[in-house]
Symmetry: C2
Subunit: 249 residues, 2 copies
Amino acid sequence: MNQTIETMLAHRSIRAFKDEPLTDDQVFTLVKAAQSASTSSYIQAYSIIGVKDQEKKKKLAKLAGEQSYVETNGHFFVFCADYHRHHAAAEMHGTTVTETTQTTEKFMVGLIDASLAAQNASVAAESMGLGICYIGGIRNALEEVSDLLNLPNYVVPLFGLCVGYPDQAPDVKPRLPLKNIYHVDEYEQNTDVFKESLREYDQTISAYYGERTGGQRTAGWSSLMANKLTTPVRTYMKKFLENKGFPLK
Amino acid sequence: MNQTIETMLAHRSIRAFKDEPLTDDQVFTLVKAAQSASTSSYIQAYSIIGVKDQEKKKKLAKLAGEQSYVETNGHFFVFCADYHRHHAAAEMHGTTVTETTQTTEKFMVGLIDASLAAQNASVAAESMGLGICYIGGIRNALEEVSDLLNLPNYVVPLFGLCVGYPDQAPDVKPRLPLKNIYHVDEYEQNTDVFKESLREYDQTISAYYGERTGGQRTAGWSSLMANKLTTPVRTYMKKFLENKGFPLK
Protein backbone atom coordinates (compact mmCIF):
# COMPACT_ATOMS: atom_id res chain seq x y z
CA MET A 1 0.00 0.00 0.00
CA ASN A 2 1.65 3.23 -1.10
CA GLN A 3 0.98 6.80 0.04
CA THR A 4 -1.26 7.64 -2.93
CA ILE A 5 -3.58 4.70 -2.33
CA GLU A 6 -3.58 5.34 1.42
CA THR A 7 -4.71 8.90 0.69
CA MET A 8 -7.58 7.63 -1.47
CA LEU A 9 -8.77 5.03 1.02
CA ALA A 10 -8.80 7.68 3.76
CA HIS A 11 -11.14 9.93 1.75
CA ARG A 12 -14.17 11.45 3.42
CA SER A 13 -15.90 14.66 2.42
CA ILE A 14 -15.06 17.70 4.53
CA ARG A 15 -17.92 20.08 5.25
CA ALA A 16 -16.19 22.53 7.61
CA PHE A 17 -13.07 24.39 6.55
CA LYS A 18 -10.76 26.90 8.20
CA ASP A 19 -11.14 30.37 6.73
CA GLU A 20 -7.67 30.23 5.15
CA PRO A 21 -7.38 30.74 1.40
CA LEU A 22 -5.22 28.52 -0.78
CA THR A 23 -2.25 30.28 -2.38
CA ASP A 24 -2.27 30.83 -6.15
CA ASP A 25 0.53 28.26 -6.34
CA GLN A 26 -1.65 25.66 -4.63
CA VAL A 27 -4.58 26.45 -6.92
CA PHE A 28 -2.44 26.22 -10.07
CA THR A 29 -0.98 22.90 -8.90
CA LEU A 30 -4.51 21.53 -8.49
CA VAL A 31 -5.52 22.76 -11.96
CA LYS A 32 -2.37 21.26 -13.51
CA ALA A 33 -3.12 17.95 -11.76
CA ALA A 34 -6.69 18.13 -13.10
CA GLN A 35 -5.44 18.74 -16.62
CA SER A 36 -3.13 15.72 -16.45
CA ALA A 37 -6.08 13.33 -16.33
CA SER A 38 -6.95 11.38 -19.45
CA THR A 39 -9.17 13.11 -22.00
CA SER A 40 -11.20 11.54 -24.79
CA SER A 41 -9.18 11.82 -28.04
CA TYR A 42 -7.39 14.89 -26.66
CA ILE A 43 -10.67 16.82 -26.72
CA GLN A 44 -10.28 18.43 -23.26
CA ALA A 45 -13.99 19.21 -23.18
CA TYR A 46 -14.17 20.98 -19.82
CA SER A 47 -13.34 24.19 -18.02
CA ILE A 48 -12.75 25.06 -14.41
CA ILE A 49 -13.96 28.28 -12.81
CA GLY A 50 -12.22 29.31 -9.59
CA VAL A 51 -14.54 31.49 -7.54
CA LYS A 52 -12.71 34.01 -5.36
CA ASP A 53 -15.29 36.79 -5.21
CA GLN A 54 -16.87 36.49 -1.77
CA GLU A 55 -20.27 37.78 -2.92
CA LYS A 56 -20.40 35.15 -5.66
CA LYS A 57 -19.44 32.41 -3.20
CA LYS A 58 -22.22 33.57 -0.87
CA LYS A 59 -24.73 33.40 -3.71
CA LEU A 60 -23.50 29.96 -4.80
CA ALA A 61 -23.76 28.68 -1.22
CA LYS A 62 -27.39 29.79 -1.17
CA LEU A 63 -28.19 28.34 -4.60
CA ALA A 64 -26.61 25.01 -3.59
CA GLY A 65 -29.10 24.77 -0.72
CA GLU A 66 -27.66 26.84 2.11
CA GLN A 67 -24.36 24.96 2.23
CA SER A 68 -22.11 27.22 4.34
CA TYR A 69 -18.92 25.39 3.32
CA VAL A 70 -19.43 26.66 -0.26
CA GLU A 71 -18.89 30.12 1.19
CA THR A 72 -16.19 29.32 3.75
CA ASN A 73 -13.31 27.24 2.43
CA GLY A 74 -9.81 27.57 1.02
CA HIS A 75 -10.96 27.70 -2.61
CA PHE A 76 -14.10 26.96 -4.56
CA PHE A 77 -14.02 25.45 -8.06
CA VAL A 78 -16.86 24.90 -10.50
CA PHE A 79 -16.23 22.15 -13.06
CA CYS A 80 -18.02 22.54 -16.39
CA ALA A 81 -18.47 20.46 -19.52
CA ASP A 82 -17.23 22.81 -22.23
CA TYR A 83 -17.41 22.83 -26.05
CA HIS A 84 -17.16 26.62 -26.31
CA ARG A 85 -13.50 26.41 -27.36
CA HIS A 86 -14.27 23.74 -29.95
CA HIS A 87 -16.80 26.08 -31.52
CA ALA A 88 -14.14 28.82 -31.45
CA ALA A 89 -11.66 26.38 -33.06
CA ALA A 90 -14.18 25.56 -35.79
CA GLU A 91 -14.72 29.28 -36.44
CA MET A 92 -10.94 29.77 -36.73
CA HIS A 93 -10.91 27.12 -39.48
CA GLY A 94 -14.11 28.11 -41.27
CA THR A 95 -16.13 25.05 -40.33
CA THR A 96 -18.89 24.14 -37.88
CA VAL A 97 -19.10 21.51 -35.15
CA THR A 98 -22.64 22.22 -33.98
CA GLU A 99 -24.15 19.01 -35.31
CA THR A 100 -21.53 17.01 -33.39
CA THR A 101 -21.66 18.85 -30.07
CA GLN A 102 -25.45 18.47 -30.09
CA THR A 103 -25.18 14.69 -29.80
CA THR A 104 -25.75 12.74 -26.58
CA GLU A 105 -22.36 11.09 -27.16
CA LYS A 106 -20.45 14.36 -27.00
CA PHE A 107 -22.36 15.50 -23.95
CA MET A 108 -21.28 12.26 -22.26
CA VAL A 109 -17.67 12.94 -23.26
CA GLY A 110 -17.84 16.39 -21.66
CA LEU A 111 -19.18 14.94 -18.41
CA ILE A 112 -16.58 12.19 -18.31
CA ASP A 113 -13.68 14.52 -19.15
CA ALA A 114 -14.71 17.06 -16.51
CA SER A 115 -15.15 14.35 -13.87
CA LEU A 116 -11.78 12.71 -14.50
CA ALA A 117 -10.14 16.12 -14.19
CA ALA A 118 -12.03 16.95 -10.99
CA GLN A 119 -11.06 13.68 -9.35
CA ASN A 120 -7.39 14.35 -10.07
CA ALA A 121 -7.76 17.77 -8.42
CA SER A 122 -9.46 16.14 -5.43
CA VAL A 123 -6.84 13.46 -4.88
CA ALA A 124 -4.07 16.01 -5.42
CA ALA A 125 -5.66 18.26 -2.78
CA GLU A 126 -5.95 15.42 -0.29
CA SER A 127 -2.34 14.43 -0.94
CA MET A 128 -1.43 17.98 0.16
CA GLY A 129 -3.28 17.52 3.45
CA LEU A 130 -6.30 19.51 2.29
CA GLY A 131 -9.92 18.35 2.46
CA ILE A 132 -12.52 18.40 -0.31
CA CYS A 133 -16.26 18.22 -0.86
CA TYR A 134 -18.07 17.92 -4.18
CA ILE A 135 -21.12 20.17 -4.47
CA GLY A 136 -23.77 18.58 -6.67
CA GLY A 137 -26.14 21.10 -5.08
CA ILE A 138 -25.23 23.72 -7.68
CA ARG A 139 -27.37 21.65 -10.07
CA ASN A 140 -30.38 22.94 -8.10
CA ALA A 141 -30.13 26.14 -10.12
CA LEU A 142 -27.87 25.91 -13.14
CA GLU A 143 -29.46 28.85 -14.90
CA GLU A 144 -28.52 31.13 -12.01
CA VAL A 145 -25.06 29.58 -11.58
CA SER A 146 -24.46 29.99 -15.29
CA ASP A 147 -25.47 33.68 -15.18
CA LEU A 148 -23.37 34.33 -12.09
CA LEU A 149 -20.22 32.95 -13.76
CA ASN A 150 -21.04 34.43 -17.20
CA LEU A 151 -20.82 31.06 -18.90
CA PRO A 152 -21.27 31.22 -22.68
CA ASN A 153 -23.21 28.70 -24.74
CA TYR A 154 -21.84 25.16 -24.86
CA VAL A 155 -20.63 25.45 -21.26
CA VAL A 156 -22.56 23.54 -18.57
CA PRO A 157 -21.62 23.74 -14.88
CA LEU A 158 -21.70 20.21 -13.45
CA PHE A 159 -20.63 20.41 -9.83
CA GLY A 160 -18.65 22.52 -7.41
CA LEU A 161 -15.59 21.43 -5.47
CA CYS A 162 -14.73 22.93 -2.09
CA VAL A 163 -11.06 22.63 -1.14
CA GLY A 164 -9.45 23.80 2.06
CA TYR A 165 -7.89 23.12 5.44
CA PRO A 166 -10.24 20.75 7.30
CA ASP A 167 -11.91 22.00 10.47
CA GLN A 168 -13.49 18.64 11.28
CA ALA A 169 -12.45 14.97 11.21
CA PRO A 170 -15.38 12.82 10.07
CA ASP A 171 -15.13 9.05 9.65
CA VAL A 172 -14.73 7.24 6.35
CA LYS A 173 -18.17 6.04 5.15
CA PRO A 174 -18.37 2.33 4.23
CA ARG A 175 -18.88 1.62 0.54
CA LEU A 176 -20.92 -1.15 -1.15
CA PRO A 177 -19.51 -4.69 -0.77
CA LEU A 178 -16.99 -5.43 -3.46
CA LYS A 179 -19.10 -8.27 -4.87
CA ASN A 180 -21.99 -5.87 -5.42
CA ILE A 181 -20.00 -3.28 -7.34
CA TYR A 182 -17.43 -5.49 -9.06
CA HIS A 183 -18.38 -8.29 -11.46
CA VAL A 184 -16.14 -10.68 -13.37
CA ASP A 185 -16.84 -11.28 -17.08
CA GLU A 186 -20.55 -10.63 -16.73
CA TYR A 187 -22.98 -8.84 -14.46
CA GLU A 188 -24.25 -10.91 -11.50
CA GLN A 189 -27.23 -12.76 -12.99
CA ASN A 190 -28.57 -14.23 -9.76
CA THR A 191 -31.00 -11.71 -8.25
CA ASP A 192 -30.95 -13.49 -4.87
CA VAL A 193 -27.16 -13.23 -4.61
CA PHE A 194 -27.38 -9.60 -5.67
CA LYS A 195 -30.05 -8.71 -3.12
CA GLU A 196 -28.26 -10.68 -0.41
CA SER A 197 -25.18 -8.49 -0.84
CA LEU A 198 -27.40 -5.42 -0.56
CA ARG A 199 -28.90 -6.74 2.68
CA GLU A 200 -25.42 -7.39 4.05
CA TYR A 201 -24.54 -3.79 3.22
CA ASP A 202 -27.74 -2.56 4.86
CA GLN A 203 -26.57 -4.09 8.14
CA THR A 204 -23.18 -2.39 7.85
CA ILE A 205 -24.76 1.00 7.16
CA SER A 206 -27.42 0.57 9.81
CA ALA A 207 -24.72 -0.13 12.41
CA TYR A 208 -22.64 2.79 11.10
CA TYR A 209 -25.46 5.32 11.47
CA GLY A 210 -26.75 3.74 14.70
CA GLU A 211 -23.38 4.17 16.38
CA ARG A 212 -23.07 7.82 15.27
CA THR A 213 -26.58 8.89 16.28
CA GLY A 214 -26.98 6.97 19.53
CA GLY A 215 -29.40 4.62 17.78
CA GLN A 216 -31.64 7.44 16.48
CA ARG A 217 -30.91 6.74 12.84
CA THR A 218 -30.64 3.12 11.76
CA ALA A 219 -31.85 2.96 8.17
CA GLY A 220 -29.84 0.76 5.81
CA TRP A 221 -28.58 1.88 2.42
CA SER A 222 -31.35 0.25 0.38
CA SER A 223 -34.13 2.02 2.27
CA LEU A 224 -32.25 5.33 2.13
CA MET A 225 -32.02 5.01 -1.64
CA ALA A 226 -35.55 3.69 -2.10
CA ASN A 227 -36.87 6.74 -0.20
CA LYS A 228 -34.55 9.26 -1.76
CA LEU A 229 -35.21 8.20 -5.34
CA THR A 230 -38.98 7.96 -5.15
CA THR A 231 -39.41 11.59 -6.22
CA PRO A 232 -37.54 13.05 -9.21
CA VAL A 233 -35.50 16.22 -8.66
CA ARG A 234 -33.98 18.84 -10.98
CA THR A 235 -36.46 17.97 -13.69
CA TYR A 236 -35.65 21.25 -15.50
CA MET A 237 -32.30 19.76 -16.57
CA LYS A 238 -33.28 18.62 -20.06
CA LYS A 239 -34.67 22.05 -20.90
CA PHE A 240 -31.65 23.85 -19.44
CA LEU A 241 -29.23 21.72 -21.46
CA GLU A 242 -31.21 22.35 -24.62
CA ASN A 243 -30.98 26.11 -24.04
CA LYS A 244 -27.22 25.83 -23.50
CA GLY A 245 -26.71 24.13 -26.85
CA PHE A 246 -27.06 20.50 -25.76
CA PRO A 247 -30.33 19.06 -27.12
CA LEU A 248 -28.89 15.55 -26.55
CA LYS A 249 -29.67 14.31 -30.05
CA MET B 1 5.47 18.52 -5.11
CA ASN B 2 4.62 15.17 -3.50
CA GLN B 3 4.72 11.69 -5.00
CA THR B 4 0.96 11.57 -5.75
CA ILE B 5 1.02 14.79 -7.74
CA GLU B 6 4.24 13.76 -9.51
CA THR B 7 2.47 10.56 -10.57
CA MET B 8 -0.44 12.55 -11.99
CA LEU B 9 1.73 15.04 -13.88
CA ALA B 10 3.67 12.14 -15.44
CA HIS B 11 0.49 10.58 -16.86
CA ARG B 12 0.40 9.46 -20.46
CA SER B 13 -1.80 6.72 -21.89
CA ILE B 14 -0.11 3.37 -22.43
CA ARG B 15 -1.12 1.47 -25.56
CA ALA B 16 1.29 -1.49 -25.35
CA PHE B 17 1.36 -3.75 -22.31
CA LYS B 18 3.36 -6.79 -21.29
CA ASP B 19 1.27 -9.93 -21.33
CA GLU B 20 1.39 -10.25 -17.55
CA PRO B 21 -1.90 -10.40 -15.64
CA LEU B 22 -2.51 -8.38 -12.50
CA THR B 23 -2.97 -10.45 -9.34
CA ASP B 24 -6.42 -10.55 -7.73
CA ASP B 25 -4.94 -8.52 -4.88
CA GLN B 26 -3.89 -5.78 -7.30
CA VAL B 27 -7.32 -5.79 -8.95
CA PHE B 28 -9.16 -5.59 -5.62
CA THR B 29 -6.91 -2.74 -4.49
CA LEU B 30 -7.82 -0.82 -7.64
CA VAL B 31 -11.53 -1.47 -7.11
CA LYS B 32 -11.29 -0.38 -3.47
CA ALA B 33 -9.49 2.78 -4.55
CA ALA B 34 -12.22 3.39 -7.13
CA GLN B 35 -14.91 2.96 -4.50
CA SER B 36 -13.25 5.48 -2.20
CA ALA B 37 -13.97 8.32 -4.61
CA SER B 38 -16.76 10.74 -3.76
CA THR B 39 -20.27 9.72 -4.77
CA SER B 40 -23.33 11.94 -5.14
CA SER B 41 -25.40 11.66 -1.93
CA TYR B 42 -23.96 8.19 -1.28
CA ILE B 43 -25.76 6.87 -4.38
CA GLN B 44 -22.80 4.85 -5.78
CA ALA B 45 -24.47 4.74 -9.19
CA TYR B 46 -21.88 2.67 -11.05
CA SER B 47 -20.51 -0.81 -11.47
CA ILE B 48 -17.21 -2.18 -12.67
CA ILE B 49 -16.87 -5.27 -14.82
CA GLY B 50 -13.47 -6.94 -14.83
CA VAL B 51 -13.02 -8.88 -18.06
CA LYS B 52 -10.75 -11.91 -17.68
CA ASP B 53 -12.22 -14.20 -20.35
CA GLN B 54 -9.78 -13.98 -23.26
CA GLU B 55 -12.48 -14.51 -25.90
CA LYS B 56 -14.51 -11.63 -24.51
CA LYS B 57 -11.44 -9.40 -24.45
CA LYS B 58 -10.76 -10.28 -28.07
CA LYS B 59 -14.33 -9.35 -29.02
CA LEU B 60 -14.15 -6.11 -27.05
CA ALA B 61 -10.86 -5.20 -28.75
CA LYS B 62 -12.57 -5.64 -32.11
CA LEU B 63 -15.70 -3.70 -31.10
CA ALA B 64 -13.54 -0.85 -29.81
CA GLY B 65 -12.02 -0.47 -33.28
CA GLU B 66 -9.26 -3.07 -33.49
CA GLN B 67 -7.41 -1.82 -30.43
CA SER B 68 -4.98 -4.66 -29.62
CA TYR B 69 -4.20 -3.33 -26.14
CA VAL B 70 -7.80 -4.09 -25.12
CA GLU B 71 -6.90 -7.73 -25.67
CA THR B 72 -3.34 -7.71 -24.36
CA ASN B 73 -2.91 -6.05 -20.97
CA GLY B 74 -2.72 -6.82 -17.27
CA HIS B 75 -6.45 -6.37 -16.68
CA PHE B 76 -9.39 -4.85 -18.50
CA PHE B 77 -12.18 -3.02 -16.69
CA VAL B 78 -15.46 -1.71 -18.06
CA PHE B 79 -16.98 1.14 -16.04
CA CYS B 80 -20.77 1.44 -16.17
CA ALA B 81 -23.36 3.91 -14.93
CA ASP B 82 -25.66 1.69 -12.87
CA TYR B 83 -29.11 2.12 -11.32
CA HIS B 84 -29.92 -1.59 -11.39
CA ARG B 85 -29.24 -1.92 -7.65
CA HIS B 86 -31.39 1.11 -6.88
CA HIS B 87 -34.27 -0.56 -8.67
CA ALA B 88 -33.56 -3.72 -6.63
CA ALA B 89 -33.49 -1.59 -3.45
CA ALA B 90 -36.84 -0.04 -4.37
CA GLU B 91 -38.30 -3.52 -4.96
CA MET B 92 -37.03 -4.62 -1.54
CA HIS B 93 -38.97 -1.73 0.01
CA GLY B 94 -42.12 -1.94 -2.12
CA THR B 95 -41.60 1.28 -4.00
CA THR B 96 -40.46 2.40 -7.45
CA VAL B 97 -37.66 4.72 -8.58
CA THR B 98 -38.29 4.52 -12.32
CA GLU B 99 -39.54 8.08 -12.71
CA THR B 100 -36.37 9.36 -11.04
CA THR B 101 -33.81 7.22 -12.85
CA GLN B 102 -35.36 8.26 -16.14
CA THR B 103 -34.32 11.88 -15.62
CA THR B 104 -31.38 13.53 -17.35
CA GLU B 105 -30.15 14.61 -13.90
CA LYS B 106 -29.77 11.05 -12.64
CA PHE B 107 -28.06 9.94 -15.84
CA MET B 108 -25.55 12.73 -15.29
CA VAL B 109 -25.01 11.53 -11.72
CA GLY B 110 -24.27 8.01 -12.96
CA LEU B 111 -21.70 9.30 -15.45
CA ILE B 112 -20.02 11.54 -12.89
CA ASP B 113 -19.95 8.82 -10.21
CA ALA B 114 -18.49 6.23 -12.59
CA SER B 115 -15.86 8.66 -13.86
CA LEU B 116 -14.68 9.75 -10.41
CA ALA B 117 -14.31 6.08 -9.47
CA ALA B 118 -12.43 5.26 -12.69
CA GLN B 119 -9.98 8.10 -12.21
CA ASN B 120 -9.16 6.88 -8.71
CA ALA B 121 -8.47 3.42 -10.14
CA SER B 122 -6.26 4.99 -12.81
CA VAL B 123 -4.18 7.08 -10.45
CA ALA B 124 -3.92 4.15 -8.03
CA ALA B 125 -2.66 1.94 -10.87
CA GLU B 126 -0.08 4.50 -11.94
CA SER B 127 1.06 4.91 -8.34
CA MET B 128 1.81 1.15 -8.42
CA GLY B 129 4.01 1.57 -11.49
CA LEU B 130 1.34 0.31 -13.87
CA GLY B 131 0.15 2.05 -17.02
CA ILE B 132 -3.43 2.77 -18.07
CA CYS B 133 -5.49 3.66 -21.12
CA TYR B 134 -9.16 4.64 -21.20
CA ILE B 135 -11.12 3.01 -24.02
CA GLY B 136 -13.93 5.28 -25.20
CA GLY B 137 -13.96 3.05 -28.29
CA ILE B 138 -16.36 0.62 -26.59
CA ARG B 139 -19.00 3.29 -27.19
CA ASN B 140 -18.78 2.35 -30.89
CA ALA B 141 -21.03 -0.61 -30.12
CA LEU B 142 -22.70 -0.45 -26.72
CA GLU B 143 -25.47 -2.84 -27.68
CA GLU B 144 -22.89 -5.57 -28.39
CA VAL B 145 -20.76 -4.72 -25.33
CA SER B 146 -23.87 -4.81 -23.19
CA ASP B 147 -24.86 -8.25 -24.55
CA LEU B 148 -21.33 -9.60 -24.14
CA LEU B 149 -21.23 -8.62 -20.45
CA ASN B 150 -24.89 -9.54 -19.80
CA LEU B 151 -25.70 -6.10 -18.46
CA PRO B 152 -29.27 -5.76 -17.19
CA ASN B 153 -31.48 -2.73 -17.69
CA TYR B 154 -30.37 0.51 -16.04
CA VAL B 155 -26.71 -0.40 -16.61
CA VAL B 156 -24.82 1.52 -19.32
CA PRO B 157 -21.19 0.76 -20.18
CA LEU B 158 -19.33 4.07 -20.50
CA PHE B 159 -15.68 3.28 -21.20
CA GLY B 160 -13.08 0.60 -20.76
CA LEU B 161 -9.86 0.90 -18.81
CA CYS B 162 -6.76 -1.09 -19.73
CA VAL B 163 -4.30 -1.56 -16.89
CA GLY B 164 -0.96 -3.33 -17.01
CA TYR B 165 2.80 -3.31 -17.09
CA PRO B 166 3.88 -0.76 -19.74
CA ASP B 167 5.74 -2.02 -22.78
CA GLN B 168 6.38 1.45 -24.18
CA ALA B 169 7.40 4.85 -22.83
CA PRO B 170 5.53 7.60 -24.67
CA ASP B 171 5.93 11.29 -23.86
CA VAL B 172 3.51 13.35 -21.83
CA LYS B 173 1.18 15.27 -24.20
CA PRO B 174 0.94 19.01 -23.56
CA ARG B 175 -2.43 20.21 -22.26
CA LEU B 176 -4.30 23.46 -23.00
CA PRO B 177 -2.74 26.63 -21.55
CA LEU B 178 -3.94 27.20 -18.01
CA LYS B 179 -5.57 30.52 -18.93
CA ASN B 180 -7.72 28.74 -21.51
CA ILE B 181 -9.02 26.06 -19.16
CA TYR B 182 -9.05 27.95 -15.86
CA HIS B 183 -11.09 31.12 -15.33
CA VAL B 184 -11.40 33.27 -12.21
CA ASP B 185 -14.89 34.39 -11.10
CA GLU B 186 -16.28 34.38 -14.62
CA TYR B 187 -15.61 32.79 -17.99
CA GLU B 188 -13.18 34.74 -20.21
CA GLN B 189 -15.43 37.23 -21.99
CA ASN B 190 -12.89 38.57 -24.47
CA THR B 191 -13.04 36.38 -27.58
CA ASP B 192 -9.71 37.75 -28.86
CA VAL B 193 -7.91 36.79 -25.66
CA PHE B 194 -9.58 33.39 -25.77
CA LYS B 195 -8.62 32.70 -29.38
CA GLU B 196 -5.10 34.02 -28.80
CA SER B 197 -4.56 31.38 -26.12
CA LEU B 198 -5.81 28.73 -28.55
CA ARG B 199 -3.34 29.93 -31.21
CA GLU B 200 -0.54 29.81 -28.66
CA TYR B 201 -1.53 26.22 -27.89
CA ASP B 202 -1.66 25.40 -31.60
CA GLN B 203 2.01 26.34 -31.89
CA THR B 204 2.90 24.10 -28.93
CA ILE B 205 1.03 21.13 -30.40
CA SER B 206 2.31 21.74 -33.90
CA ALA B 207 5.89 21.68 -32.58
CA TYR B 208 5.11 18.59 -30.47
CA TYR B 209 3.79 16.58 -33.43
CA GLY B 210 6.38 17.99 -35.84
CA GLU B 211 9.23 16.81 -33.66
CA ARG B 212 7.76 13.31 -33.30
CA THR B 213 6.97 12.77 -36.97
CA GLY B 214 10.02 14.40 -38.56
CA GLY B 215 7.85 17.30 -39.67
CA GLN B 216 5.23 15.08 -41.38
CA ARG B 217 2.43 16.03 -39.05
CA THR B 218 2.22 19.63 -37.93
CA ALA B 219 -1.45 20.38 -37.35
CA GLY B 220 -2.30 22.40 -34.27
CA TRP B 221 -4.96 21.45 -31.74
CA SER B 222 -7.67 23.76 -33.10
CA SER B 223 -7.51 22.33 -36.60
CA LEU B 224 -7.39 18.77 -35.25
CA MET B 225 -10.58 19.45 -33.29
CA ALA B 226 -12.27 21.43 -36.07
CA ASN B 227 -11.69 18.47 -38.43
CA LYS B 228 -12.53 15.77 -35.96
CA LEU B 229 -15.80 17.31 -34.81
CA THR B 230 -17.19 18.20 -38.22
CA THR B 231 -18.98 14.86 -38.51
CA PRO B 232 -21.09 13.41 -35.66
CA VAL B 233 -20.29 9.88 -34.45
CA ARG B 234 -22.17 7.32 -32.34
CA THR B 235 -25.47 8.91 -33.23
CA TYR B 236 -27.30 5.76 -32.06
CA MET B 237 -26.56 6.72 -28.44
CA LYS B 238 -29.85 8.42 -27.62
CA LYS B 239 -31.82 5.40 -28.85
CA PHE B 240 -29.53 2.93 -27.04
CA LEU B 241 -29.91 4.79 -23.73
CA GLU B 242 -33.67 4.89 -24.14
CA ASN B 243 -33.72 1.11 -24.61
CA LYS B 244 -31.58 0.64 -21.50
CA GLY B 245 -34.04 2.59 -19.35
CA PHE B 246 -32.59 6.08 -19.73
CA PRO B 247 -34.93 8.21 -21.87
CA LEU B 248 -33.19 11.34 -20.47
CA LYS B 249 -36.40 13.07 -19.47
